[in-house]
Symmetry: C2
Subunit: 383 residues, 2 copies
């Protein structure tokens, strides 16, 4: 591993911090978290008026480490380093950026791997089920901690975009802009089906032990690896995979009569992705996050009318989608835009040509960067 | 289960038959099957000139039972009853139809669950790996048995279409028509990825025992169920699933604060499909069939030039695809058509509007039936 020279457009070395909240957090399931920790990172400086704050909401397998590096030799920077930094769309010369690990997560905030104060054991499967709005409530506590009265923008991709939209409905005065990338107002039956298969893979792993694998000093690695492999394929596009792997072989030979192991590149790539994920992610968190995704239905409590739902919002919206994203297809984004227009809201929309599938929102595609950058300039003008 | 009244357009009650082949069958892997059985069904009558024979090639999880019922109370007719019968596209008043279970299968033909004569135990994972051309060779033995010199047509969907195309290249004089439905000249990286995940699910089931589960008196049910669930989702379209399930709930309530189990219809449907399949299909067959799919590459031995490959064919071609099929997308069929046109072959092509995904080829969609019917009338004219 070589030392990474510090890039001019990088936020550089960052250090995660943790806040402890003593007061119980009421959850939508009716239970409450007696106390909880939030691990977070910040980039840029909060201005005197506290008007330049941006909240980053992470997706299914995301966390607080969105930009920069924890130490100079860290192999990869934070997951959204393409978009956060000096001169990047979320410009840390202009904005104060807060990125947190959501409760229920497994990267430092209170979640299923944390100790249940009532039992002294890991929460595991007893951790309360969460809905997207619970994350909004927890993020509000962070907002109060920093003394922020209104976010300049709340920004998220995928499940992160769902949180940003939920904020816009629940706390219309708390934000000026909502940036929703590669997201949807609710999952399709196909989305739910893939999540259910992933959950089945985890729960049928003999090391799952009804979610009490930590007490059994083991991990449901194979189930979690399978879940990740399924997820991974659905986040890529057919064309993108063709470009990346084609039908190239890892080893062996497809010729007639050839013997021995034959393996396509894509097979070993997927297995590698799966097993790496299985070592670094918590299975109960994966179950909890996919259920929150499945249950999310923006307009449910507005008689299934997204126009009625969005009529509560007061902020401006930017919606972006990617042509080859079939997990959160452009049609889903257009539904958001149509509802916002019908509700008389200000909305910009860009459908970006990209063959990277759902993962495109993480990639610095030139037109994506240009459009994102232009919109964020507008956000900056309002500071 | 109620008695099914015999339909006028049904082939009625059919009885599978079995043929035993004593001579070794040389396989493309270099090994040979010392002896083998083929289970098959026939519908319609072979004419005196033996010129009206049609070979049906089955797909991944298919078998010989393509039409009619084995007994009056059978819940469902054969898998392609929509297309085979009196007055149907493959008209049994006109044609003699042969439908076999391929070697390597698990419905009566010699496969991994059969006894290996050398050990007296089930073949299991020691069954030779198969390529599509091995099925062609085995089907040729059936052709000889019936004294058929030329098939009126060879017809198949998906992996069945791949066999039909392989026939056209290997034995150009053995067929007058080739009908290729929802198929491709080779799998994409995405296709291979889904197959690999399915294989991983099977092999990581603790009851798999390196494929020797029968010797351990068990079955890798959970792995096979997961494999089927993955396959099933990829055979349906997003729109089709939306129409069939939407976000309907099986039980429970998504309202805020509600407790108890909440389940979407699509989840219980998938689990049911998975566990039913796990009881009726052999895991080693699933591994073998998906590997044959992955390895298939029509033009590999023609310097990757499909035009050069198809220049060997002498028959006429009919190619059909379905708009919402994303596993074997219309683009894949258009590649076949383009290559055939460039090779100067006679080819008809129809892209059928359908929201049933890959499974559309099994469904009596009116335009599909009309086009298929019209083409088969042409086949009948040549008898």
């Amino acid at each position: 591993m070589t030392h990474q020279p510090e890039q001019q457009d990088s936020v550089g070395i960052v250090t995660p911090q943790t806040l402890h909240f003593d007061q119980p957090l009421a959850l939508s399931c009716g239970r409450s978290l007696p106390e909880h920790d939030i691990v977070f990172e910040t980039y840029g400086e909060l201005n005197a008026a506290r008007s330049n704050a941006i909240l980053i909401c992470h997706a299914l397998s995301g966390h607080h480490h969105a930009a920069g590096r924890h130490h100079p030799d860290e192999r990869k920077p934070g997951w959204w380093d393409s978009c956060i930094g000096p001169g990047k769309p979320i410009d840390t010369n202009v904005f104060f950026v807060l990125s947190i690990n959501n409760i229920g997560g497994c990267h430092g905030s209170t979640g299923p791997t944390s100790t249940n104060p009532e039992t002294g054991k890991p929460w595991g499967p007893d951790f309360p089920p969460l809905r997207c709005r619970d994350w909004v409530e927890s993020q509000r506590l962070m907002m109060a901690h920093f003394g922020i009265e209104q976010w300049a923008a709340i920004i998220g991709g995928s499940l992160g975009g769902m949180q940003a939209m939920r904020w816009a409905l629940e706390y219309p005065d708390a934000m000026r802009h909502c940036v929703v990338i590669a997201s949807a107002m609710k999952l399709s039956a196909q989305n739910i089906a893939f999540n259910e298969i992933a959950r089945n893979a985890i729960c049928s792993d003999p090391n799952f032990h009804q979610g009490r694998y930590l007490e059994h000093d083991t991990l449901p690695r194979q189930g979690l690896a399978l879940a990740r492999m399924i997820g991974h394929v659905t986040y890529l596009s057919d064309d993108g995979m063709k470009e990346k792997f084609g039908r190239d072989l890892k080893a062996g030979d497809l010729k007639l009569g050839s013997q021995g192991p034959v393996e396509f590149q894509v097979e070993s790539y997927l297995r590698h992705q799966g097993s790496r994920f299985a070592e670094s992610f918590d299975a109960n968190t994966y179950l909890l996050m996919t259920k929150a995704l499945d249950y999310y239905d923006l307009a449910r409590e507005y008689d299934d009318d997204p126009v009625a739902a969005f009529s509560h919002a007061k902020c401006r919206f930017m919606v972006m989608s990617f042509t080859s994203d079939w997990r959160f297809a452009p049609d889903r984004s257009r539904e958001i835009v149509d509802a916002l227009v019908a509700a008389g809201k200000s909305v910009s929309y860009a459908e970006i040509e990209a063959n990277h599938g759902h993962d495109a929102f993480l990639i610095p595609i030139p037109r994506y960067m240009a459009v994102f950058n232009a919109y964020m300039k507008r956000v900056a003008e309002g500071l």
